[in-house]
Each structure stands twice: as structure tokens, then as C-alpha cells.
């Protein structure tokens, strides 16, 4: 149940938006509290701590001592900024949104959220791909996955008795997981580099976590996802002031010089952002502005990265102050082809 002050069916209107997708089945989302719980904050802080104490970087290479020393202040600032940024425990969503003076880009109404949260239907949302051949990376797999956005993706090499490469896909919404499962098991469209991959629901036989195969999306994260449209992908975009744009859709030969931006150092950007969590891909975005996207393995990383980049005084604020930043569509957020 929602606590007092949270928008309900009667007072939801300022934040109601028309959905482009059907996010109307959310029985798995934790609904014990409408507030940002201490547990949620603790989990976030733990994630940050884990990143900061990790011995290997995003590419699996050991972080050397000088790098670690260089990164240490960043981690500290990050932790401080994060706790400052988060909504106070006694603050409800509406107040928090007003405080931030921003309209949420939510994907569902709280009315729906509340209505379906009490629905006891299937909560399964974690799918395991169990027979990934050697030489097949997670990006190749994700390029063929559809159904809906992910909360996170885990990729294990040589796991278990079978010494298999395994990917765990944590869909945000069980309905999307079910659609992908149906697509991958009843058609032969789910083929990666010529191999038909086997998908299974997470269970005792294939999961690392023996207690909870389909954990709920934590409430603090659910709110980031529902109210702020949080996704694993962050899109960075910057206008090019000197550029003259033809207002036509007709094809033409544009000026090569003014349509080319120098000095975009993706390696540096990767180094700066990998502290927030594993990056699966950094890709170009097709835009009239200079634009790229960063795809994290976990939506939490994108949430923290965005907050830090947008916080005045944070280590990355100066670097990205001229850039617009928003959550991009998850590449797996595509409809599945029907039978």
C-alpha cells in the first residue's frame, strides 16, 4: 500500500503520462514503502563500495595502484554526493519531484502501479541463457534479445559443473520476460551468430542465488525506473554552435568540416564512467548534435552516473556541464516477433 502523500488514482494527474509501452503489470515491484528506504540507500552505497574496492576494471584487467589512488577521491565524492542527492526518508514522491522542479518521464501511472502491485500473478523475471558458445560476447547476445528493458545483466564465463558460459537477464517487468521466453522457446528466431541459444527461467539448477531466483526490483530503484524513466543507457548530447543546418529532409552533401567534431575522447569518457559500474558498450548516436550513448550492465550504474554528472561540484559536473544527459532506450526494449 502507498503511504499518505503519494499520488493515487485521485491525485495522480500531474504526473500521469501516456505510455508507449505496456507497463501495466508490475506485480514484482516492491511496494512496502513509498519512500526511499534506508535499505535502498545502503544497497546503493554497497554497490559503490564494491566498485571502489574492485580489483579489476571494466575490461577485467587489474587496476594498478596509481589508478586506484587517482580514483579514490572520485569514489569518496561520489558517495557523499549520492547521499546528498537522494530523497530523504520522510519525503514522499510528490514532494521530491517538486523539490527537483522537474517533470518525471515516467512510463506508467501510479494508479496502474498501485493497482497491479497487489496482483499475485507470476513474478518471474530472470531468464538464464545456458549454452553460450566460446567466442560469443554479451553484446552479440543482447543484440538478439527483445521483449523489454533490463534491470541488469550478469555474464559468467565457465560457470558450474558444465563449465558453461551463462548470461542472466534481469528484465524489469515480468511480462516482458515472459514474452521473450515465449519468443525464444517457441520460435527459432533467437539465434546468435548461427547458434540457437537455450533460455530458461532462473531456478535452482541454473542460478547463482539459491534463495531468490526472481528477486523484486528494490523499491528505491523501482521509483527511479517508473518516475524518472531510469534505464541502463545514458545518452550524452551536445549542440554544435558553429554548424549551419539545412532544414530539409532532402539528401545533400554537407560541409565535412562543420559536421565533424574534434576532440571527443571516448577512452577518457569510458575511464570516467566505468567507476559507476560495468559498461557493456559505448556507441555513436545518430543526431544533428554530437551524441553518444553509454550502455551499463546495470540500471543502478546509470542512475548514479547521471546524478553525479548533473550535480554541481561533482567531479564529473565540469566535464559534462555542456552536455544534455538523459536515459536512452534499452536496446532490448523491442517488441518480440509473434508466431
Amino acid at each position: 500500500m502507498f503511504h499518505a502523500g503519494v499520488p493515487t488514482a485521485n491525485n495522480v494527474s500531474p504526473y500521469t503520462c501516456v505510455s508507449t509501452n505496456s507497463y501495466n503489470t508490475l506485480p514484482h515491484l516492491a511496494t512496502d514503502s513509498s519512500r526511499y528506504s534506508k535499505a535502498g540507500l545502503r544497497r546503493f552505497a554497497r554497490s559503490i563500495y564494491q566498485w571502489s574496492s574492485s580489483k579489476v576494471d571494466d575490461d577485467g584487467e587489474e587496476i594498478d595502484k596509481s589508478d586506484r589512488q587517482q580514483l579514490q577521491p572520485k569514489f569518496q565524492t561520489l558517495q557523499t554526493e549520492f547521499s546528498k542527492l537522494n530523497f530523504r526518508e520522510d519525503m514522499n514522491i510528490k514532494t521530491a519531484l517538486a523539490k527537483c522542479n522537474r517533470q518525471p518521464d515516467s512510463f506508467t501511472t501510479l494508479k496502474n502501479f498501485e493497482k497491479v502491485s497487489s496482483h499475485p500473478s507470476s513474478q518471474k523475471r530472470v531468464i538464464v541463457i545456458v549454452n553460450i558458445p566460446e567466442g560469443t560476447g554479451i553484446s552479440s547476445i543482447l543484440a538478439q534479445v527483445c521483449g523489454g528493458p533490463m534491470e541488469r545483466i550478469n555474464f559468467y564465463r565457465g560457470r558450474g559443473n558444465r563449465n558453461a558460459n551463462v548470461a542472466e537477464l534481469y528484465f524489469i517487468f515480468p511480462e516482458h520476460a515472459r514474452k521473450f521466453h515465449e519468443y525464444a522457446t517457441t520460435t527459432r528466431f533467437f539465434i546468435v551468430n548461427g547458434y540457437a541459444l537455450q533460455v530458461e527461467w532462473a531456478d535452482r539448477s541454473n542460478s547463482e542465488d539459491l534463495d531468490e531466483f526472481h528477486p523484486q526490483v528494490p523499491s528505491y530503484l523501482a521509483k527511479e525506473i517508473l518516475h524518472w524513466g531510469a534505464r541502463r543507457c545514458l545518452v550524452f548530447s551536445k549542440a554544435v554552435p558553429s554548424k549551419t543546418i539545412k532544414n530539409t529532409n532532402q539528401l545533400h552533401y554537407p560541409s565535412a568540416k562543420s559536421h565533424f567534431t574534434k576532440g571527443l575522447d571516448i577512452s577518457q569518457i569510458r575511464k570516467d564512467l566505468v567507476v559507476f559500474g560495468e559498461i557493456l558498450d559505448i556507441g555513436p548516436v545518430i543526431s544533428r548534435k554530437v551524441c553518444f550513448s553509454v550502455q551499463f550492465a546495470d540500471v543502478r550504474s546509470a542512475v548514479v552516473a547521471k546524478k553525479v554528472c548533473e550535480t554541481v561540484g561533482s567531479p564529473l559536473y565540469d566535464q559534462f556541464k555542456d552536455w544534455s544527459l538523459w536515459y536512452g532506450k534499452d536496446p532490448t526494449d523491442l517488441p518480440c516477433i509473434g508466431k
Partner: protein
């Protein structure tokens, strides 16, 4: 896609299309001698909800295949190749197939992924690039091409118009109409395996312009060199109006070829070698490109096909070192068998093969759980 219930067709008279009712035609995208392409949506993909996004697809109808053997052969080849390369993230995915025999809708219908743009539309517009954008585009094309070449297939028609681009910057190679296998294992007649053909002139390697009969994978690398230059220059580098003009355009940039190369390949260049041209430095044409890009251009756009870089050499070039993801540069798990080209010699053989291919694809599309 495969549904055992009888299909009901909807016809679109303007485009002369006849498709399963589950597909709603949206727009005519293009028309050529080979056939017609329309965009459509698959209504069945959204059956669970009223407001869910629908799967957008491209439907390519290959016409005249029942009248001209060469077109039928090409259609069979393209279909087999698309099935062979299914599942690579930089190669367009085939979704469904159908053959219609009723006039005027007759033809092979290929249902494929639809992207937001093709690379030509991206290059010839106000889209902003950086070195990273160009590196990523080239890297993705090379990953797709590595997969294709590893099956001993050459695409033979790589150009910006045959590379689809999503708004998220994912590139996919399409149009295998001119592609073919080259592994000697599948040639009955081992001599002179490849005949001449007509690919898009501006991206044609010099050995093709000079009608050399034996050519190989390096023709695709030349095309990639042309695409790389175009990504920097935002216009094609070598815009020949005919064969001789094309050769002249190449000579103006690369300089007159060395005598030993002309002799080695027995090129007939006597009418075009005068005046003598010096090689133009890439720095003069694309001053804002990095020296690594210039270096890669040198290795791709060179006269001697044997000196031209292979896909693997390109991927290992320093220009792409910051983007490489070794786990996502797969090779195809089997060679492409094109022995049908010699075993099927008549129209009726090819028709039967086409029918079998379509049926095989459609029955593969659904898992038979009883098996």
C-alpha cells in the same frame, strides 16, 4: 512467423504487393529493376496490449524471378545467404519468407528487419560525426564483413546504401543480391570461378573496373576504403560517370599504378596512363582525420589487391584499437555451400529449390515441441 493455419492475404495494388493480413503495409521505400521494398508492421507482435510498439519490418518483393533464370538464381542465392548469416548483429536478419504465384503480385517476398536509416541517408544529411562515430561505423561494418568472409562469401556490393543504421548507431549489412561463395570446395569447374558482374561503380575496386576475372575478398575491402573516405568527406570520393572516368578518378587520387602491378595483372591501361599522376596524400583531402585514419585508407585504397588489408588486418589496425571487443568479432561456424549453382541448371530446378528453401525456413521458424 510460421503458422500452420491457412493464411489470409491482403493486397496492395499500388505496390503490387500481396502479403499475409498480419502485416500492414505502411510506405513504399524503393523500386528498382530487382523489385520493390515497402515498410510494414507486424500486427501480431502486439497482440497482448493495445498500446505496445509493433514490430517494424521491410518487405522486399523480388519480381520477375519466374521469367528470368538469372533473377531466379540471384533470388535463391540471396535467400540462402541470408539464412546462412542469421543472428549476427551487423548483418540484417531475415524474419519471414513467402512466394506468391498470382499475377500481378507474383514474386519472392523477403521479410527483414527495418532500420531507421541507411548509411547514405546518414552521410548525406546534417548528422554530426566525430572520429569516434566514424571508427564505430567502420568497426561494425568490418565485424559484419569478417563474419561474411569467414564463410568464404564476398558481398560484392558494399556501399552506404546497403548498410542499415539504427538511431542508436547500430549498423547492419544488407542486400546479398550480388554476393556469392568462393570456396573452391564447392566449384565443379575449378577454373575461372567468378564471372564479371555489375556492382555500383563508385565502390568498385580497380581490378573489377579493369575487368579482371579472378578477384577475391579484397574487392569488399576496397569498398570499405571508399566508405571510410566518404564518412570523412561526406561525399563519395570516386564518382566516375562510366568505366573510363571511374578509372581516371582512381588514378587522380592513387596516382598512376606501378608498372610491376600493371604487368602482374596484365591490366590494359595503355589508354589511361597518360598523363602520369602522383599519389595524393590523404592529409590534403581529409586534413581533420587522424593520421591513423590516413594510414588505414592507405592500406585499403591501393592498386594491388594482394597488398590490400584483409578484414582481420583492418580490425587489428591501431585506428580501431580503442573500440575493439574481441568477444564480439565472431566467425561463421560453417562455410557457405553454393554447389546448387552448378547442380541446379534449369528454371524448374531452381524453382523447386526456391520452394524448398522457403518451406525449410518457415518450418524452422517454429519449434516443434513434439520432436
Amino acid at each position: 512467423m510460421y503458422n500452420k493455419t491457412k493464411k489470409t492475404y491482403a493486397t496492395y495494388k499500388d505496390a503490387k504487393f500481396s502479403v499475409d493480413q498480419r502485416y500492414k503495409i505502411k510506405q513504399l521505400l524503393g523500386k528498382g529493376t530487382y523489385g520493390t521494398v515497402c515498410s510494414a508492421v507486424d500486427t501480431r507482435s502486439s497482440s497482448n496490449s493495445s498500446n505496445e510498439e509493433e514490430v517494424k519490418i521491410a518487405i522486399k518483393k523480388v519480381s520477375n524471378i519466374f521469367e528470368k533464370e538469372v533473377l531466379l538464381n540471384r533470388a535463391v542465392r540471396e535467400l540462402k545467404l541470408m539464412r546462412h548469416f542469421k543472428g549476427h548483429r551487423n548483418v540484417v536478419n531475415l524474419i519471414d519468407l513467402d512466394i506468391v504465384y498470382i499475377e500481378p503480385y507474383e514474386g519472392l517476398y523477403c521479410y527483414q528487419e527495418l532500420a531507421d536509416y541507411d548509411l547514405a541517408r546518414v552521410i548525406y544529411s546534417s548528422i554530426q560525426f566525430s572520429e569516434f562515430h566514424i571508427q564505430s561505423f567502420i568497426y561494425q561494418i568490418l565485424c559484419g564483413l569478417k563474419y561474411i568472409h569467414s564463410a568464404d562469401v564476398i558481398h560484392r556490393d558494399l556501399k552506404p546504401g546497403n548498410i542499415l543504421v539504427t538511431i542508436q548507431g547500430c549498423l547492419k549489412i544488407c542486400d546479398f543480391g550480388l554476393a556469392r561463395g568462393i570456396n573452391p570446395k564447392y566449384f565443379k569447374n575449378k577454373s575461372s570461378p567468378i564471372t564479371n558482374y555489375v556492382a555500383t561503380r563508385w565502390y568498385r575496386a580497380p581490378e573489377l573496373v579493369l575487368s579482371q576475372k579472378n578477384y577475391g575478398k579484397s574487392v569488399d575491402l576496397w569498398a570499405i576504403g571508399c566508405i571510410l573516405s566518404e564518412l570523412y568527406g561526406r561525399r563519395p570520393l570516386l564518382m566516375g560517370k562510366d568505366k573510363f572516368h571511374q578509372l581516371h578518378e582512381i588514378i587522380k587520387v592513387l596516382g598512376t599504378p606501378r608498372k610491376d602491378i600493371i604487368t602482374k595483372y596484365k591490366w590494359n591501361l595503355s589508354t589511361t596512363v597518360k598523363p602520369q599522376y602522383e599519389r595524393v596524400k590523404w592529409n590534403a583531402i581529409y586534413p581533420f582525420a587522424s593520421s591513423e585514419a590516413h594510414n588505414l585508407l592507405d592500406s585499403l585504397l591501393c592498386w594491388d589487391p594482394n597488398e590490400r588489408f584483409t578484414v582481420q588486418q583492418c580490425l587489428e589496425h591501431i585506428y580501431l584499437s580503442k573500440l575493439r571487443d574481441l568477444e564480439n568479432e565472431p566467425v561463421c561456424n560453417q562455410l557457405f555451400d553454393f554447389s546448387f549453382e552448378t547442380s541446379c541448371t534449369s528454371m524448374s530446378d531452381l524453382k523447386m529449390l526456391l520452394h524448398e528453401e522457403v518451406e525449410a525456413f518457415r518450418s524452422e521458424a517454429i519449434v516443434n515441441k513434439e520432436k
